[in-house]
């Protein structure tokens, strides 16, 4: 039994918070994407060969998308639950007749929605710089939604785990961003010399970037189904952790 009114209230409130900073929320990704295209697409890309038959400028689009998606989704979602804990307004949520389902669909749904809006903005911005077409648009949308869901859940866990602002920022800074940069955002891992091409496969982000790249251009470093499988496994693990958090009240209830 899910309280849909409660869920809707949480969801719309989170989105309203997002719209309060709409200008910044839209401008930041447009600006970063443009900068990446100017530097990597135009300046460096001109001297790069096509990768797997794809122009370098187009090649980096899925990587860029993943870079922004992972960072923004994680931070949006973690802030969404961390701030009420920090300011104390979480008391209302904890005393309300809402459980794990309402909270997750509300908070994580809102974080996902923001991420999808963001993805659309990035794709439109990229179109201004390079010509590209998407080979499997439906799979691409499904894949983006899946990744957004998984990292919204991940961010949610971070926001509950963190007990100060430093911890909130440390995981994205120390793990997410480096792994994304090393995860084939701007290159194909074939380009790495041995043994780095094998070591790179230990980086889970490689599978995410590669999966998205496959939905765009039909070719990638690793098999698409492995990418889907890993994303699903990550999502399931996050759901498991969150279920545990709610059952025990860890970091939520004193």
């Amino acid at each position: 039994m899910i309280g849909w009114r409660s869920t809707w209230s949480i969801y719309t409130r989170e989105l309203t918070r997002f719209l309060r900073t709409a200008f910044q929320s839209v401008l930041a990704p447009v600006l970063t994407t443009s900068l990446y295209f100017i530097v990597f697409g135009a300046a460096i890309g001109g001297r790069m060969p096509d990768l797997g038959g794809v122009d370098y400028g187009a090649f980096i689009i899925p990587g860029l998308l993943m870079l922004t998606l992972l960072g923004e989704t994680t931070s949006n979602s973690s802030f969404g639950i961390y701030m009420p804990r920090f300011t104390g307004t979480i008391y209302e949520l904890l005393s309300a007749p809402v459980g794990v389902a309402e909270t997750l669909i509300g908070f994580v749904g809102a974080a996902m929605t923001k991420s999808l809006i963001l993805a659309a903005i990035i794709l439109v911005t990229a179109r201004l710089f390079v010509d590209y077409s998407i080979a499997h648009p439906i799979l691409a949308v499904i894949y983006i939604m899946l990744v957004a869901a998984a990292f919204s859940l991940f961010g949610f866990i971070l926001g509950i785990w963190a007990d100060n602002f430093e911890k909130l920022g440390i995981i994205p800074l120390l793990f997410l961003t480096p792994l994304t940069f090393l995860g084939g955002t701007f290159y194909s891992i074939d380009m790495l010399p041995a043994p780095w091409d094998t070591i790179a496969l230990a980086n889970p982000i490689v599978y995410l970037v590669s999966g998205l790249r496959w939905t765009f251009y039909g070719s990638s470093d690793v098999n698409i189904w492995i990418s889907f499988g890993i994303t699903f496994a990550f999502l399931a693990a996050c759901v498991g952790v969150i279920a545990f958090i709610f059952r025990t009240g860890w970091r939520l209830r004193a």
Binding site: S9, R13, T87, G88, Y91, L93, S95, P97, R253, A254
Partner: protein, 314 residues
Amino acid sequence: MSEPILDIAGLSKVYPGGLKALDNVDLTIRKGEIFALLGPNGAGKTTLIGAVCGLVRPSSGTIRAFGHDMGREWRQARRRIGLVPQELATDMFEPVMRAVSYSRGLFGLAPDPARIEEILRSLSLGDKRDERIMALSGGMKRRVLIAKALAHEPDLLFLDEPTAGVDVELRKGMWRIVDEMRDRGTTIILTTHYIEEAELMADRVGVIAKGRLLMVDEKDAMMARLGRTEAHITLARPLGALPPSLAQYPVELEEGGASLCYRGGDGTGRGKAEVAEITKALIAAGIDYTGIDVRESSLEEIFVSLLGEEERAA
């Protein structure tokens, strides 16, 4: 006795650090009453409220609200419970009306702007509905929190120090609001440091210290049981000995016979009546006096003496 709306049995809470904030608390709250929880800082008042409202996980004991076990049927129960926390915690950027509407939705009720407006007006926030919460004064913010707690029309309301940091005028306004809620049939449990407040508003009072509920009683009964009248009558001329006509009263001479002191009665006014009789007896005995000072002990003194007994017992 009317049906219990809240039934707490054997409730204990040990915080992770090992601190026992609640120690085997039993408490039954009746429908429609105003119950004041009195206790010094750190007594466990907020912890007790938190345990009922789902903010604190009890270490042991059971809580039943409206016949629902809070451990299992918390959804049904929480829908009917409202909480105004001790700390001012609100989303500062949110306009008042939206914040209060959100609370209503969060508790699963359909939007009802007219009802929300009514709640805001009853809290004198009608003209602040579109204001951001950060633009309000502290007292107004507290009333926004009350409005949020009332938005889902709870039958049981917790007010954790509703008048802390609120000026006299506002405090009176708060008392009026509580009165109105009582008239509408809402059961209210409040905590306070102002004993005057408990004396004025509550039907029953519970005294808590170090996690133990020391005493729960009707306010009037508590006053009657523990209340005292103290009177000092300043005599025109010092007396060497008490006149025999006063022998039946609990009086004694003080300050070398210059003052007659009465300590007795209970919280029902018997003491005042006896003081009146004593003055008549003094006149009848031809003893002149120049001043009378009569004082009723308050809940405050009862409270302090109870805590003192507890300390000595410990």
